[in-house]
């Protein structure tokens, strides 16, 4: 859909200071009909990348290539909806007026806008406040309003910069559900977030930006698999059994929890040993509390990569 080709960007933070390289020849693409997470630590260049995409700033070198199917008859941003980080609105207007402004700029038909607005304001639970002046909105309501403005014109590609920042758990859950729903409707979604569990939960793909360079692009599963392979680590199982009286197993428990008759042993058993371990449990008729395969989380993989 959109390709970033060799994009580099440097900023001079002060007139007398040397330029700092924010993006260093980055190459990646936003794929059609996929939910792509854009990951990176603070200052890694995520927002700069998005600003280049929308021509707010210009790259020192490289280009952003838009797919022909995405470019509308009037403008290349016609089929894109954008939700900037910490959106700010005209304080004296009502939510309804602002949404109408955004829909009018996109030349969206009034009737369709009205229908969409009804649906989205109800779905995001701000229908009760849509006629109120924006300056009376809470932070969560502003996020919801921002989200509506980014989808009101029914875009094919939705770009969200930290959409869930500042939302309460209910709001986060709602946003995640909506993003997944839009994904099912074959919309392409590209969103940046610091919350790795969110990305793991809802994204098909991730783009990992590290100090201005692309560290990874691909499916989340692929990253988890590659990481495991590069570390040479085996699958592990977490096993919890009720501590037997006067019995020692070959394996040492990681920890012991509980007291008296309810004392539990916690084990971490590697893939090659799990068969023997289970046999011993059956042999000694031990009581199993839980046996679970330990899957590495995105956090466990990405944080060491970023650090």
């Amino acid at each position: 859909m959109i390709e970033f080709l060799n994009i580099s960007k440097s900023f001079r933070q002060d007139f007398w200071q040397k330029k700092v390289k924010i993006l260093d020849s980055i190459n990646f693409s936003i794929k059609s009909e996929r939910i792509t997470g854009f990951l990176g630590a603070n200052g890694s260049g995520k927002t700069t990348t998005l600003k280049i995409l929308f021509d707010f700033i210009r790259p020192d070198s490289g280009q952003v290539k838009f797919d022909k199917s995405l470019i509308g008859s009037r403008n290349k941003f016609e089929k894109i909806g954008f939700f900037p980080e910490r959106p700010y609105f005209y304080q004296h207007s009502s939510g309804l007026e602002f949404i109408n402004l955004m829909a009018s700029i996109s030349m969206h038909k009034e009737k369709v806008t009205k229908e969409k607005l009804e649906y989205w304001s109800h779905r995001l639970k701000i229908d009760h406040a849509i006629n109120r002046q924006i300056r009376t909105y809470s932070k969560g309501m502003l996020q919801r309003l921002g989200f509506i403005t980014s989808v009101i014109h029914d875009p094919e590609l939705i770009i969200l910069d930290e959409p869930m920042a500042g939302l309460d758990p209910v709001g986060r859950k709602l946003f995640k559900e909506i993003i997944l729903e839009l994904g099912k409707q074959k919309k392409s979604i590209f969103f940046s977030s610091h919350i790795l569990s969110d990305i793991q939960e809802i994204c098909d793909e991730i783009v990992l930006l590290e100090k201005g360079e692309i560290a990874f692009q691909g499916e989340v599963e692929k990253l988890l698999h590659e990481s495991k392979r590069s570390k040479g680590s085996e699958d592990r199982y977490e096993c919890v059994i009720l501590k037997p009286d006067d019995l020692e197993l070959t394996w040492s428990p990681v920890k012991t929890v509980g007291e008296g008759a309810s004392k539990f042993w916690y084990y971490e058993i590697v893939d090659t040993e799990i068969g023997n371990f289970c046999n011993k449990i059956i042999e000694f008729n031990l009581k199993i509390q839980r046996i679970e395969k330990v899957t590495p989380t995105l956090e466990e993989i990405v944080y060491p990569t970023i650090n």
């Binding site: 941003f77 016609e78 980080e85 959106p87 005209y90 004296h92 402004l101 955004m102 700029i105 030349m107």
Partner: protein, 259 residues
């Protein structure tokens, strides 16, 4: 083309609504009341020409109000959008920077036109009540005050795009003051005797905005006859200089990076 015009109109309509809801209308209403109040006090204290005083106060306050709207609104018109990131939402839609800027400027101009009509009508109404004669030059002077405000608005937007808000306000007021100071300076014997200084002032007047060309207040107040073609030349100067500033502002805005 039609779509582009519609987009500009949408932005300007929204700008007018937004500006109307800020405190600007209250300021215009206060100015109107001031015109009435000061004119009344002055007419009570003066002897023989209360209508002249009403006219002078009215046009003077109109000029100050419009300049204040231009300078203080113009300084934040675009820079506030960049600071608050509202610009990011709008420019990520199918609208060009030039269209957005045009819409915003038209919005402020419409508001200034409204202020001109309200304050101008108040002045003319008072003049009529106090027995003054309504000459065509009064309307010409009011039009020139509007043109002066347009010029100041574009000048302050220009500065706000290359510096910060405070500097933009200071530079605009400085240039406004300089244009009047130049006229006075040219009368100094020292300047008359120094061709270099005189040429410098003339060069300054030819290149930088000369607000004195848009000032008819003396002609109105002293009932001087306006030189022939003065109105046409002054209008042409105001409109062409504003157009030049507008294109300059668009070029800078198109090239500007929004960090």
């Amino acid at each position: 083309m039609k779509e582009n015009l519609l987009k500009i109109l949408v932005i300007s309509k929204f700008s007018v609504i937004e500006l109307m809801r800020s405190k600007i209308l209250i300021m215009i209403a206060i100015c109107s009341l001031l015109v009435i109040l000061i004119s009344y006090i002055a007419s009570e204290l003066s002897y023989g020409m209360p209508n002249k005083i009403a006219l002078d106060v009215g046009i003077g306050l109109l000029s100050i109000s419009l300049l204040a709207i231009s300078i203080f609104m113009g300084a934040t018109l675009i820079s506030k959008e960049i600071e608050n990131r509202t610009l990011y939402m709008i420019l990520s839609r199918p609208i060009s920077r030039a269209m957005f800027l045009t819409g915003r400027v038209i919005g402020v101009l419409l508001l200034q036109a409204l202020a001109t009509i309200i304050l101008g009508m108040t002045t003319i109404f008072l003049l009529k009540i106090l027995g003054g004669k309504i000459e065509p030059i009064i309307f010409e002077a009011i039009f020139f005050v509007f043109l002066e405000a347009v010029c100041a608005l574009l000048l302050v937007i220009f500065f706000s795009l290359i510096t910060n808000n405070i500097a933009a306000i200071i530079y605009t007021i400085f240039l406004y003051g300089c244009s009047y100071a130049c006229v006075e300076l040219k009368e100094f014997l020292y300047v008359k005797n120094k061709p270099f200084v005189k040429n410098f002032i003339e060069f300054y007047q030819a290149t930088l905005p000369d607000f004195t060309k848009l000032n008819l207040k003396d002609f109105v107040f002293y009932a001087d006859k306006l030189p022939s073609n003065y109105f046409v030349i002054g209008s042409a100067y105001g409109i062409s200089y504003s157009a030049f500033l507008f294109f300059l502002v668009i070029i800078i805005f198109n090239k500007k990076e929004f960090h």
